[in-house]
Symmetry: C2
Subunit: 407 residues, 2 copies
Amino acid sequence: MGYYILDKTNIVEYLNSIENVKKYFAGDDLSIAEIGDGNLNFVFIVKSLKDESKALILKQAVPYLRCVGEEFPLNKERMTYEIRALQSYAKHTPKHTPLIYDANEEMSAIVMQFLGEHIIMRKGLIQEIIYPKFAEHISDFLATNLFKTSSLCLDSTAKRELIGRFNNNTELCKLTEDFVFTFAFMEHDTNDDYAKGHESAQKLFADMKFKKAVLELKYKFMNQTDTLIHGDLHTGSIMLNKKDTFIIDPEFSFVGPFGFDIGALLGNLIMSYTSHMAQETEISYCEWILDLIKEVLEKFENKFLQLWNEQKESSLLVSGFLDNNEIDEFKKEFMLNILRDSVGFAGCKMTRRMFGIAGVEDIREIKDEKTRNKAIKQTLKISKKFVKHYKEIEKIEDVITIIKGAQ
Amino acid sequence: MGYYILDKTNIVEYLNSIENVKKYFAGDDLSIAEIGDGNLNFVFIVKSLKDESKALILKQAVPYLRCVGEEFPLNKERMTYEIRALQSYAKHTPKHTPLIYDANEEMSAIVMQFLGEHIIMRKGLIQEIIYPKFAEHISDFLATNLFKTSSLCLDSTAKRELIGRFNNNTELCKLTEDFVFTFAFMEHDTNDDYAKGHESAQKLFADMKFKKAVLELKYKFMNQTDTLIHGDLHTGSIMLNKKDTFIIDPEFSFVGPFGFDIGALLGNLIMSYTSHMAQETEISYCEWILDLIKEVLEKFENKFLQLWNEQKESSLLVSGFLDNNEIDEFKKEFMLNILRDSVGFAGCKMTRRMFGIAGVEDIREIKDEKTRNKAIKQTLKISKKFVKHYKEIEKIEDVITIIKGAQ
């Protein structure tokens, strides 16, 4: 049975063909509702009519961009990579991965746990919610997944197999090359109308030192196969509440540079910070975000190093090759390079959200123009410094200093 | 028809099944002779009995290491990568690629031009032959192939396809990880007997600063997908005479770091130099090698930059993104990084030839022990400096200075 597009007329039949799902709903009648907020894909909530707490998500990719329509064709095989990444997350960090009931690469469809008690983190941050466990959770997620799928842990054969399983996610990697690293930094018809004639946009597009550094970072994105990355880990790819944190939507995943996911998260937390600062939200919330950033970076480093220290041998480091002092020195430099690249990528990610095709709600939805421009200016101050000076970062505190310095 | 091992009893029938080869020999009776010097594979010379100038090479991989036997199994699919790399070379630098008459991935076999008037470069250098066109030729080969298969030239889709076509050459990449970057720098039972108790070996194995830098370079080898590399471009993989230069044996090929092939060549030219210096060969020959090294590096850089300048647009650099000054600055830094990595890789390649499993004839075959040790010492002086200080190299002249300084 080949691929076909799922809709309300055939979803029940499809779900009944999956043993795992049939068992979950135990023969209950089902309601099907489409969630309208998926940009790329169709997402349905399937609920038991008898017991509304029994609910699953069905997500399917169609061969075009859902939010635009058939005139913007996009390979449906992107779901293959989302499925494979989620399966990898389920293996390494099941606590932070929605439970998968069925994954069907041929149908470009996945059935998974409905996160009814969690919201998209970006929304939560806009609502000034404090998440006391988030730093702990996301550092677990990042450290474990980034370490376990790298050459610091996998043997050469497993690493190459992993590269092979994600290597054809070309179309979505290309989207990142174009929209995260290129078009948003030059005059381009995909940019937001807001960019036209905007003073900060003009200055940005003319900042050649910035753009040269972007090119370096783009090259790293295209040519470094450190580890399996999510590829789009902004605060819209995280669902959480005060108790749990889940990572969703890894359709951009591929084997890429260590710093990219950390950078995406860092950049998006900072945009929440600059948004709240511009809007004069209570200072304690802004300070919580700053503390959170520091905690995430520190906990990531500690946990990553702990996993590395537990790993006695790898393709990279054969036991007995190097003495402990030099190993520690190697690891220290390695972690610093991850931090630096994370800062550089964060800078690209933040900057492209200012005038590029896709903004972030935190800033683009600020109604008052003066306030919005204040947020944009502060964001750009930080992001330009990040991109131009990421190689000079020496410690986590330097990152915080740059953020605080951009008042 | 599946894979079977070719031998004198079935080769004629096999060749007659290939239209292109049948046409070449035009029905002549054939003689088949095995060349004994292949380490990994079976290599046969097929000649017309009527006209001995009509000759082809038939090379087939068997599922084990030919020079050891069936007790050392080695995936015969390595020939797949040799075939694919040769086809890529034939496309980009046909002048330096043996003419391919047939390539059969299923049979792990290739039929190609017999280079009867050319010798292995290592032998030529040992015989003190001067090759006036070599720098021109090899810089063509390196610049063209390394540029044309990189993200500086290919679009993202073609680049990922290329990665995919070589990604499974795991076994041979692993050989490099183990034998070029690891075992030759520590006590290991694969090392040459000569290493046991050798003072320089002991010092090398204890040099932790050196080994930490090796680890960095090994990480680059494992995680950088710059371009299609030969993977084993020492002077034994080059056949030439005073007029022509051919590159052979790219079974180690995969998409890896820019500097690896240049480093392999550089390191092997230097070992020829240190060998001649220790043996007190006429100084003019030693000086020719030094000049050659400089010329190769300079010509490579110029030709690579010329190709890059001719390339108006690429996945990396969209037209109109950056102004010319910054582009030039970016390219300058990029070329310097290639040079630095080349020096680092050259250092690893040279060092591993001293006490590791595979020596080079230039040095290991020096009969007089004192002379041999002199060559080893000089080589190690250079190679250790290369590995520990490759990131401090600022220009090509610095490389020559290090070589000359190691008397």
